[in-house]
Structure formats: C-alpha cells, structure tokens
Amino acid sequence: MNVRTAVVLAAGEGTRLRPLTENRPKPMLSAGNRPILEHVLDALVDAGIERVVLVVGYRRTRVQEHFGPDYRDVPIEYVIQDKQLGSGHALLEARDATTGPLVVVNGDRVIDSGSVEEVIERFESGEDEPVMAVIEREDAHRYGGVRLAGGEITRLVEKPDPGAFRLINAGIYAFGDAIFDEIAATSRESGELALTDTIGRLMEEGRVAGVKIEGVWVDATYPWDLLEVTSEVLATGRVSEPPREDGVWVAESAAVHADATLRPPVAIGADCVVGPGSVIGPEVAVGESTTIGANVTLEGSVVDPDSRLDHGSTIVDAVFGQDVHLKADATIPGGPADVRVDQEVFEDQRLGAVLADRVGVGGGVTFQPGSLVGSGARIGDGAVVRGHVASGAEVVR
C-alpha cells in the first residue's frame, strides 16, 4: 500500500533552545529565513506526500499562522496536543486524522526528500513492518544511539555514553496504521509516552527495519547551533528568495542601497532595508521587514524578522530573535566563547551573542562573546553585557 500521508510532530518547545523558543516552538526557528518546519514540509512534498497532519501544541498559533490550510498545494490538517506528553502521545493524537500507512517525522530538523523516499520505499517493499531512518553522527550521545544489523534495528539507547554509538535515530519513520494500537499498548514512563519506547518494544520482537540515510540532516540543540544550521541551508541553496548572483539571495521587495555590499552566501528577506555603506555577509540570513542602517557590518549571523539595527554597528556570530532593536554603534565582536547553559559549560563555541525576541539595546553597547540575552530585556546606553541576562530584565551601565 502506498504511503501518501505524513504526520509531523511539531508540538514541543525545544527547551534547550531557550530563550529563542519563548514565543515559538523550535520547528518555527529560522534556517535561512524560513522556519525549520518549512524545510521538513519541502522534503515531504518532494517525496510525494499528498497530505500532511501537523501535530501542534506549544505556541501553536505561530505554526498555524505561518502555514495556514495548505503548503505547496498539499492540504494540512492540524491536530492539537494540549499537553506535551511525549512523541508517542503526540502521534496517537493524530490517529483520527490518518488512514492507511504513514510517514512520521520530527518537525524540528532540516531533512531532505531523498531520506523520506528511502524510508517510504523500504516500507512499501516490506510487510507492514515499521521502518526507521538512521544516520551517522559524531555527537550520537545527544540523540538515540542505534545499532543496525542486516537491515534490522537491533539496539536503541536514548542519550548513550559518548563514543558508544555512531549511528542515531534520524527521526524519520514509516508505519502501518497498526502503530496506533502498539503505542496505546505501551506503558507510560512517568506520565510520558515516547515513540521510541514503542519502537524499542517492537524491536525486541525483531520487527523494526532500519534504513541508513546520507542526505542533509541538520539539527539545532542549542541556540548557537542555528548559525551552523543557517550556513548549511545557505550552502545547499535551500532559500526562498530569488538569487541575485551566486550565493546572494535578495527578495524583490527588499531595498538594498547601491553603496551596500552583500558578501555571499547571504539571504535578504522581503521588505528589508539595507542602508549605505553596510557590509552584510558572508553566512548571513536577514529575516523579512528588517531594517539595517548605514555602515553596519553583519557577518556569520542570523537576524529574524522585524529587527532594526541602527547605524555603525558591528555584529559577528550573533543569533537575533524577532523584533530585536539595536541603537547605533553596538559591538558584538564574535566567538569563540565558553557558554554556560544551566549547569553545563560549553567550551569554545562560535557565538558572539544570542539576543532573543524583542530585546532592546541602547547606543554603544558591547556584548562579550557568548552573551545570552532573554526576550524583552532592555540594555541601557553604553553598557557592557556578559553572560546571561534574564528575559524582561533591565541592564544599565
């Protein structure tokens, strides 16, 4: 039976990406001026999926508003998971919205259509047995470690010890509709129902096929990973703005001053303004309706929609949420830096600063490498910012 339907899991926040996820779920974070989820839907549509069921929950209006009732002529049905009780629970919520076999994917990682096609082909050639895509990753300890033998999944360990596994669960599956009964029959762990628990059980019965994929697979675990994600998306040209020259994508409605310089790869979104003397790029994505003043240097950075960067600022390796306002002469000199998240320290990360949604920054402010500023925080004129600034906080010089 042919697989025509896909269920996309997009209900979770992605807490390790805070403060960027305070107003939208991880699938809606930007990867080259487009939400990660849009890349996922591209992969599904390109692989021949004809109907998408989106499981939404945390800050779901952001997903609904962006995609509306269809994407590239493929109808989208929204299923609401009110409480985020695990990926198995999320999929179970979609039961009534599907018929027949289905592809299931996580909505928060950039994948390509080839991977989806391989999973579908494997499923269609089998006898309704579940199929899981696996991929090789150096940081397998962050994901579900997997062993693959003779085309079957033989081990599945969540967050294994570093070095113990080389393959991970890529979060792309195909199932027959029997999967819903299997999930329902899986016992909950402290109230949560993980899809991998069900798959683990089926695996022990020797019934889960594995497909090793080698296509694009890009994930962001921490805020600074979005810089890498953007680079990857730009490098593979997965950009919706029209190309102006090689590696330079500029929306038709954007106004770039004749004396501004765009250094590839760079993407400038709809209705953006770039003032004279500014140098944007390389490795930069500027979201729609952003206004960049004169003589701004912006390099290796992600800027989300509606931001405003005034004259003379220098910004390197920065991740900006939506509607960030920077007065003149801000300085973000860039990484590498040691970044502390909760109790963990990440050494030598490429990160100038993370400024979450609606941060307001006064004139002449300097950000030390690795600064993390929560949404809505206010930074006064001339301040020097280091480390964490809580959401809504006010920093004065």
Partner: protein, 602 residues
C-alpha cells in the same frame, strides 16, 4: 447576505459542487438554502436553517443533473422558511430562479401575475421572476427571450440565475448586485466547465479564472459562455486571474475564523505596506493616487469602516486638510454640499450597498471618488475614479478584524502619499514598518483572555479614548456588541461626564485607551478617575508611559508607538477582549445572529 452558485458541465459532481459552494458562501451570513438541478427533469430541494440541514434533506432524496443553481438566503421579504428559500419555481415547475438583492416593483408584478392565474407559494419578491418567465414562454418566447423579457420588467437590485425549461443552460443577469463567472477546465468534446457565483470563494477550488459581469449584462452558460448586453449584442469580457486560495477559507487549527484573522494581522500589515512605504528613500509610493491632492475630504462608510473613516478624518485634519466622516446611508439620503471635496468610500467588500449608493450620489454630482477596499473587481473598485486596496487577504469572520487594521494602515499611506510633508513621512514610515512586529508582540503576550474571564458577565461595557483613540473606543464597543451580544458603548473620553457617566457603576467595566504621556493622556487619566470614583472597574489599555495604571484594576499593555500607530495596537487588544468575552459566553463568533458580512441592501 444572500449567496448564489451555479455550474454547468460538471457531470456527476454537479450536486457536490453546488452544495460545497454554498458552504463556502456561508461566511456571508444566511438563514436558509437550496439547490435546483436539471437532469431528466428539473428538481429542487430547499430548507430553512444550516447547510447541514440541506445536506440531510439531499441525503434522503438525492438530486441528479448536469447543471444547476444553488442559493443561501438572508431574509428580507418574509421569514426564513422552507417555502421562502430559493430556488423559486413557476407554476409548472419547469423554471427555477435564484436571486440576490431586492425587486422593488415586485408587488405590482405579483398582483398582475396572480390576476393572470399564477399561484404563489412564498412571501418573497423573487418568486415573480419564474412566473414572468413562464408567462413569456407561454406566449411562445424561446427560453433566452423569456428570461430577457422577465429581467426587463424588474426594477431594483438583483443578481439572478435561472434554469428555464429543458434548455441545457444557465441564464444570468445582474444589476447592482455582484455576480462573477468562473471559467473552468475543458471537459469532454470541447465543452468547458463554467461556474457562476456571487463571490469567488464559492468556486475558487476549481478555477482562478474569472469574469466579472457588469450591470445590464446577460450571461448564458452552456458548452460555451456567451455574454451579451441588454440588446443581445455580444460583449467582449476580460478574464481576470484571482490569486486567493479557496483553502484560505479553512480555519487551519483555530477555533474561529475571527481568531485566525486576528492572528493574521502582522501578515496583513506587511502586505499592505509592502512596496509602498520606502524607508530608504523616505517616501510612500501609491500609484493609485498619483495625482490626488485633495483640498478637502468627505469619507462615506458604515460600521467598522466608519470608525476607520473617523481615524482618517483625524489624519487629514492633522495635515491641515479639512475632512469629515459620514454614515454612507445618511450621505446618500441628505447629501451635503460637496464642493471640490474628494469623496472616499471605505468598504471591505466593495459591495456595501449604502456606501456604493453614497459614492454614486457623489459621482452624479461631479465629485471625484476614491474607494478604500479589500476586494478587487468589486462594485466600489469598478465605479470609483481611484481605488486604494488594503491588501488584507480574505476575511471570513463576519466581524471585521484584520481589515480594520488594514484600513488604518492604508489611510496612513494615503495621507503620507498625498498631503503630508517629507519630514512627517520620514518620521512615520519607520513607525508603520514597526507595526507588524508590535502587533505580533501583543498576540504573543496579551492577557485579554484573563480580563475576559473576569468581566464577561458584566452588565455593560464602556470604552473611552481621545484623539486617534476615539475611533478605537467606538470600534472596541462595536466588536464586543457584534460577537458577544452584550451591551457596549464607546465614547470620546471627554463626553463621558456629559451624560453617559450616569450609566457607570460597579458592574460596568470601562476600557480606557491611554498612550503616551502628553496632555491628551493626562486628560484621559482624569476621565479614568471620574469612573473609578463611581466604583467602575477600569481596564487601562496603555503603553505604560503615563500613570494610568495607578487607577486601573487591570492593564492591557501595548508597545510604545507614535499616537497614530498606537491606535492600531490598542485596537488589537480590544479585538482579543471581544473575542474572548464572546467565546466565554459561547456565542456564534464567526456568524453572529442577525448579521451579515457584506450588507448589500440599503
């Protein structure tokens, strides 16, 4: 308002196409519906109530046929009953007619036909039409000639579609009521699918190629399409392409269209401003009004659009241009001296009968007219000298939300492009560009739902504001009335103590819009103290610059903005309050009782 759908050459999908089309017209508001198909013979099913009731009736007794017409009715002549629902038939049951609008001379025609022995089964004005056709047929006329003969006898406003005898065609005509033809794909043997509707979404699923019928024109839909004038001469029509998706009529995960449309406002604002407000150059480019430079302005509008007009008056007056706003219905009735004023009609649908009529009156007196509308190809768009499109995208909820926001943004562009100084443009354009992000911040953080939880069972709701916030106060009250059915009034803050204050007590929350920290804000804070002293709960809608919060029981926060932009923001908070109050009370938010989206009768 009523809705029409028709289709030919759809084969077995004829019935499904008609009923689905009626569902897509639901947003216009209706109280009964029906369909008629021509198969071996002409058959009709019609019911009072929801489309679901019609579907149920059709399940019991399915109709089949190769072409047909359908109708959603919003009662004007006679109550919503099965008999009064369209399509209406003649005595023989061989002519079926659907109609939007009002036939003013129907009583005389009806008496005359009854005298000739025709039997009427409904209270409607429409029913005279099939009988007129029957009479002409009886005198030996061909189906098309009979249809033309009937139409020629009608006075009033109408869009009419009819199936006559066993002629495999739909006949249509219009006068002052919208009617659009959809050109579908070619099917077997060179035949083409054609659709007919009062509004594009009814058939948008099948085609985006449309032909707008004009007043006095006739259309004949069969294997080919023929459009003719009243003398029967062929008319060359242009085929337009519509870019709106029918799917946009889906709720996509929201409980109501209105909530969806409230959340679409950042996008709607971007669309309105895109390519028009140029921050780099400090200019506003509106090709539509290139040579407009009014020395004075008359606005004509109704309902929410009238509140946008009041806001527009303020913009023009601030720029030193005398401006007035009128209810279009009054303007058409008691037209003031126009002089050399530019007459601007604001109408979301472009079909609002009162506004269209006021604009016609102004034109007949030689005035230059400008339509501010959301609908390309609408009557207002086609008849006015110029059109400024607000670019908000389709709005399905009967209560306007994103289109009011779009109207305010468009009016800003209009005054910036025509009468305001370069200095003002440089100051205001960045503020307009900030609006989508600021509206998004309200949508992300609003506590309107909690405030609605506290106050939804209040006796009355009052809204006060000054300057640009005065129209917002009126609109906030209208929104609440429309969808919650609760009593609400908006006042200019200063007028409160001249009477309305007598209504205020501890069960009448007062929503006060206070932005900035100038003389205007201080005066409104004074008015807040007046109501606070009468024990009224106060909800301050504020950017926090003044001390209004000191006197408020609750606060709805907006980002700081210049006064004219702040009005857009406070209104978003009030939309959310109205929505959540109505939701709390379990109201039919998208289709409030007694109301229609586009009011096409005067």
């Amino acid at each position: 308002m009523c809705g029409i759908i028709g289709c030919v050459n759809r084969g077995e999908r004829t019935l499904e196409t008609l009923v689905d089309g009626l569902e897509r017209l639901e947003y216009r508001g209706y109280d009964s519906s029906g369909v008629s198909l021509l198969g071996e013979e002409l058959s009709v099913t019609k019911t009072a109530g929801k489309i679901a009731d019609l579907r149920a009736a059709l399940e019991e007794r399915p109709l089949d046929g190769r072409l047909g017409v359908g109708h959603t009715r919003w009662s004007t002549h006679g109550p919503p009953t099965d008999e009064n629902a369209h399509p209406h038939l003649d005595c023989s049951g061989e002519v079926a007619v659907v109609h939007n609008g009002i036939i003013e001379n129907y009583q005389g025609l009806r008496d005359e036909l009854a005298g000739d022995g025709h039997t009427f089964t409904s209270d409607t004005d429409t029913e005279v039409v099939p009988h007129l056709i029957e009479r002409a047929l009886g005198r030996g006329a061909s189906p098309e000639a009979a249809f033309r003969d009937a139409i020629a006898q009608l006075e009033g406003s109408y869009a009419i579609a009819a199936v006559v005898g066993d002629e495999e065609a739909i006949f249509a005509a219009r006068s002052d009521s919208p009617l659009v033809i959809g050109v579908g794909k070619e099917c077997a043997e060179g035949d083409r699918e054609y659709f007919l509707a009062s509004d594009v979404p009814a058939f948008r699923e099948y085609t985006g190629k449309v032909i707008y019928l004009d007043d006095g024109e006739f259309a004949r839909l069969e294997s080919e399409l023929a459009v003719t004038d009243s003398d029967g001469q062929p008319v060359e029509k242009t085929v337009n392409t519509v870019e709106w998706d029918a799917e946009e009529t889906g709720k996509s995960g929201y409980d109501h269209f209105m909530l969806k449309e409230i959340h679409e406002q950042p996008r709607a604002l971007r669309q309105c401003l895109s390519g028009r407000a140029d921050e780099l150059a400090g200019t506003v480019e509106l090709e539509e009004v290139d040579d407009v430079s009014p020395s004075s302005v008359h606005f004509v509008a109704m309902g929410t659009s009238y509140h946008a007009a009041l806001y527009g008056v303020h913009l023009f007056q601030q720029a030193g241009v005398p401006a007035q706003a009128f209810h279009a219905s009054e303007y058409a009735t008691v037209t003031p001296p126009i002089g050399d004023a530019l007459v601007i009609g604001i109408t979301q649908s472009g079909e609002t009968a009162d506004t269209v009529s006021a604009l016609r009156e102004a034109r007949s007196r030689g005035a230059r007219t400008l339509a501010v509308t959301n609908t390309v190809g609408s009557t207002a768009d086609r008849e006015c000298d110029e059109t400024l499109l607000i670019q908000s995208g389709p709005e399905i909820g009967v209560a306007a939300s994103k289109t009011f926001t779009g109207q305010l943004a468009a009016l800003n562009l209009l005054t910036l492009a025509t009468v305001e100084s370069g200095r003002t443009r440089r100051d205001v354009v960045p503020e307009l560009r900030e609006l989508p992000g600021r509206v998004q911040s309200i949508l992300d953080d609003s506590n309107a739902e909690e405030i609605a939880d506290v106050y939804h069972d209040s006796r009355s709701f009052f809204f006060i504001g000054r300057s640009y916030q005065y129209p917002v106060a009126l609109e906030g009250a209208l929104k609440l009335k429309e969808i919650s059915y609760e009593h609400a009034e908006g006042f200019s803050a200063g007028d409160l103590k001249h009477g309305p204050l007598a209504l205020v007590d501890d069960d009448t929350p007062v929503f006060a819009m206070v932005t900035g920290d100038d003389e205007i804000a201080r005066k409104t804070v004074g008015n807040i103290k007046e109501v606070e002293a009468r024990d009224a709960p106060v909800v301050a809608v504020t950017d926090g610059q003044s001390n209004a919060e000191l006197y408020a029981d609750h606060v709805l926060r907006i980002p700081e903005a210049i006064p004219r932009a702040a009005a857009v923001l406070t209104n978003v908070q009030l939309q959310l309050v109205a929505y959540h109050v109505a939701d709390n009370l379990g109201r039919s938010i998208d289709k409030p009782r007694n109301l229609a989206k586009s009011v096409t009768v005067e």
